[in-house]
Amino acid sequence: MKFDSPAQTNPIDQLKIVGKPTPRIDGPLKTTGTAPYAYERHNVVPGQAYGYVLGAGIAKGRIKAMNIAHAQQAPGVIGVLNTLDFEPAPLGSQNTANLFGGAEIQHYHQAIAMVVAETFEQARAAAHMIIVEYEREHGNFDLAKLAPDAPLVKGGNGEPSVDSYGDFESAYAAAPVKLDATYTTPDETHAMMEPHATIAAWDGDKVTVWMSHQMIQWGKVALAKALGVPQENVRIDSPFIGGGFGGKLFIRADVVVAALAARKFQRPVKVTLQRPLIINNTTHRPATIQRIQLGAGKDGKLTAISHESTSGNLPGGGPEGAVNQTQLFYAGANRRTALRIAELDLPEGNAMRAPGEAPGLMALEIAMDELAEKLSMDPVELRIVNDTQVDPMNPDRPFSYRDLVGCLRRGAEAFGWDKRNPKPAANRKGRWLIGHGMAAGFRNNVLRKSGARVRLGSDGVLIVETDMTDIGTGSYTIIAQTAAETMGLPLNRVRVELGDSSYPVSAGSGGQWGAVNSTAGTYAACVKLREKVATALGLSGDDITFANGKVASGDTSFALSDAAKNGEIVAEDSIEYAEVNESHQQSTFVAHFVEVAVDAYTGETYLKRMLAACSAGRILNPISARSQVIGAMTMGAGAALSEELAVDKRFGFFVNHDLAGYEVPVHVDIPHQEVIFLDETDPWSSPMKAKGVGELGLCGVGAAIANAVYNATGVRIRDYPLTLDKYLDRLPKV
C-alpha cells in the first residue's frame, strides 16, 4: 500500500478496538514466566552447549599471545573460539567496533575468546584460565581534553558542516537578552534487563539464531555479512526481547561468537553476555559537551539560536546528534547548529533511546529555563511565544500536526503550575527545599516501510505474521487491535506472531517508529485480505462491511470464516511512504512538569510528582502508550539524577560496569506518574493517524528535573547527572 497523501476516513477510524485501553495480549505469558526469551529456549534445538565470552583487559592495542591450553583441557570444555584464529568479522553498516576476530583491540572488554563447554559453570571457569598477553597502545579517553580541537562533523557533501539559517552572529550580537552557557551530559548505558543472548545452530550451511534483537532484518543482513553466508541462509527468531533501548538495534558479539562457535564445534551453542561485560563490550550513549547561545527580544521571542555539541566515538563512529531538535523546535529567524566529534578509544557510542534528543533537550531545556529567568518570564509562556507551525529553516514546510502549546497549557493546568513560586530557593518545608520545574520535549516521527502477512483460517482465527518485534512496547497488542479492527473481529480471534525473519520485513523497533509503521503495515495486509475475502465470498461493490466477525454487503452477510472454508486465505502487503515525509515535518511533542524535594542538609533529591502531556497523534492503546511514556520518564529521571558511566581516563574504560555501580532508578525513586495524551490524529502519518510515543517521554524530562532542582535550591547545575556533590557547597548553611 502506497501512502502518499493524508489518510481519509478508513476502517481504523471506527475505533471499536484501536484506541481502546487494552491490556497486553502477551500479559498472561509475561506475568507467568512462560514467555520465552532467547537464552532459555531449551526446546528449539537439542544438544545446546554453553559459551562464555572473555573480554579484552585493555582498551587499545594488540594481543601478543593467547594461551588457551589450560582452558581447552578444563573439564567439560568442547573448545575455545580464539580471536586470533579469525579475520575480523566483516562489519554491518551500522556497526563501528569490531565484534570478533583479529589481534587488534579497539576497546575494553572487546570479545577476544569464547569457551564452549558442556555446562555454564565449566565454560565460565575455563574462560578464566585463558592467559592473554597484550601490547598496550596509547589511547584517547578524555572527551573534555579533546573537545577544544574536535573537528566539525562532515555533511553530505563531505565538507565540515554547520547548519545555519539567517544570520546568527549579527542577531545574537543585537539581541537585548542573551544566554551563553555550556552543558554536559555523561556516557550512559542502556541497562536493559535481559542481557544480550543467542542460541545458534547450523543445519548444513544454514544457521538459525534465537536471539534478543530489536531489528530483525538489520540483524539478518549484518549477521550474514559477518559470517560470510548469503542472507537467505540466516534465520533470526526473537519473539520476546527483555528490553533493548537501542542496545539491541545492531548485532553484537554474542550472536557472532555463538554462530562461529556452533559452526566450528558442530554443536548448537548458547551464550549470554555476562552483566559485568555488557557495558564495555556493547554500545553506550556518548557523553556530550554542548554550548548553547540564545538571543531574545524583551518579549521573549527568540531571534538567535545556536547549539553546538561535541561528542566522541571510535574512529569511523558517528556523533551524538544532540543539536537535531534545535533545528525544528522553536521559532527564530537566525540559527546555527553544529556537531563536532573527537576520536576516542572508549567502547562504541551508538543509539540509546531518543538518541540526540535525549541529551540535546537535557541541555536546551535548561537553557530555555535560564532564558526565561533572565526575561522574568514564565517558562511555559516563553515556550508558547516561541512555538512554530512551520519548519523554522524551511518556512514553506509546515508541521503535519503540532500542538506543543496544547501540551504546555493542559500540562500546566493539570499540574497546578500557576501555584509554583518562580523565585528559587523560596519554598522550604522543614528540611525540604521544594522545587517545581518544567521543560518541553520533541521527537520526530519516522516513517519506514513495514510489511505483514495475514492468514485467515477456516476456524475464523486471523494470524498476523511480521518480523516486527515487541521490546516491551506493546507491539503484540496494537498489531492485534489493528487487525481486529480492520477485519471486524474480536481481539481474541487474532493471533500475532513476531520477530521471525521468515516473516515479512517490518519497520522493526527503534526510533519510536515501531508502533505507527508496523500497525500501518498490518493494516495494509488486512486491506488486501479484505479484498480477497470479498472475492472468495463473491461480494463486490463498495458497501462491504467487516464487523462482528461478519462480512456484509447489501442484504447478504457471511461469517468471515466462510471465506476460508476451502482453505486458508493469505494476504501480504507493506505500507510504503512517498513524499509525505518531505512535504510535512512530522514530530511529537511533550511538556513535562516535575516537583522535587531536596534535602537542605544532604542535597539528596527526591521526585515528588511527575506529569507529562503529550501530543503524538492517535494513541493506539492508551495503556501501553502510557507505559511507554512513564518508562521513558523513569529513564530520564535516572539520567538527570544518578546515571553516569565513570570513565577511567588512564586505562580507557567504564569503571562502574555493572548494575550496582551504574545506578538506574529503583522503585522508591519514582513517584506516581501522570500522563495526558491530547486527543488528536495526524492524517499525514499513515492510515493509523498515529505517531511514535516510545521515546517522547524521555525528551525533556531530565531538564524539567534539573529546572525543579534549581527552583528548589537556587543552584543552577549544568552538568548531568545532578549528584549532590555538584551543589552541596552551595546549599543553605547548616
Partner: protein, 210 residues
C-alpha cells in the same frame, strides 16, 4: 564430638580446583594437553519446586537460579545480572524471597522453592499476576517474574511486621502504604520503568486483602 557430615562429593580424578590455581599463575607457555581431564565435583540435590520433588545431580557451582533454569527448565525465573544487583532472579524459598543467583543449589537441599510458575498459570493467574496485567505493571517482561515474586512476598513481609527503611515507627504496626511498597520493591529493577504501575497493582492486591 560430631564430625562433619562428609557430603557425598564425587571426585573422579583430581579436583579441578587444584589444576585451575596452577594454571592461573603459571607462565604463559603452551602445555601439552593433559591425558585425563579432571572431573567436576558434583553433588546430589533435592529440591521441592512448586510442590514437585526434583532430584538432581549438580556441579557444586550451580546456583539455585541455574538449577531452575538450566536443569529443571523452569525458565520463568530470570537471569538479569547474576550478581544480586537486579532482582530478576527472585524466588520464594521456604516462604521468604531471595536472589536465586547468589545461592548455590546445594545450599537448598530439601527446601521448598516457589517460582513464578508456581504462583499461577496463563489460564489461572495469581491475583498479583492478574493485577500486573490489569495495571500494565511490566513492559518487556523480563524483570516481571521477579517483580511478582517480590510483590507477593512484600505484602507478606509487611503483614509479618518486618520493618523497612521508610518505616517511621519501628514498634508500631506496618502498613502497605505506597512508600512502604516502593521501598521494599527497590531490589527489583525494571529498566522499562513500570514502577508507577507496579505500585498500583500491588495497592489493588493489598487493598483486597486488607
Amino acid at each position: 564430638m560430631a564430625d562433619f557430615e562428609a557430603f557425598k562429593v564425587s571426585r573422579r580424578g583430581v579436583l579441578a580446583g587444584g589444576t585451575v590455581s596452577v594454571a592461573a599463575t603459571s607462565v604463559p607457555v603452551v602445555r601439552a594437553r593433559a591425558a585425563a581431564q579432571p572431573a567436576t565435583p558434583t553433588v546430589p540435590v533435592s529440591l521441592k519446586v512448586n510442590g514437585k520433588e526434583h532430584k538432581l545431580m549438580l556441579d557444586t557451582r550451580t546456583t539455585l537460579l541455574d538449577a531452575l533454569r538450566e536443569h529443571i527448565k523452569l525458565t520463568g525465573t530470570k537471569k538479569g545480572c547474576d550478581h544480586g544487583q537486579c532482582g530478576a532472579c527472585t524466588v520464594i524459598v521456604n516462604g521468604t524471597r531471595i536472589n536465586s543467583c547468589l545461592s548455590f543449589a546445594v545450599m537448598h537441599e530439601g527446601d521448598e522453592v516457589t517460582t513464578i510458575e508456581g504462583l499461577g498459570t496463563p489460564d489461572n493467574l495469581h491475583p498479583m499476576q492478574a493485577a500486573f496485567v490489569k495495571h500494565d505493571g511490566y513492559q518487556c517482561g523480563y524483570c516481571t517474574p521477579g517483580q511478582i515474586c517480590s510483590a507477593v512476598s512484600v505484602l507478606e513481609e509487611i503483614r509479618k511486621g518486618v520493618p523497612s527503611h521508610v518505616t517511621d515507627d519501628l514498634e508500631g504496626p506496618m502498613k502497605p502504604t505506597n512508600m512502604e511498597m516502593r521501598e521494599r520493591m527497590s531490589g527489583n529493577i525494571c529498566r522499562c520503568g513500570a514502577y508507577s504501575n507496579i505500585a498500583e497493582a500491588m495497592a489493588e492486591v493489598a487493598g483486597e486483602k486488607a
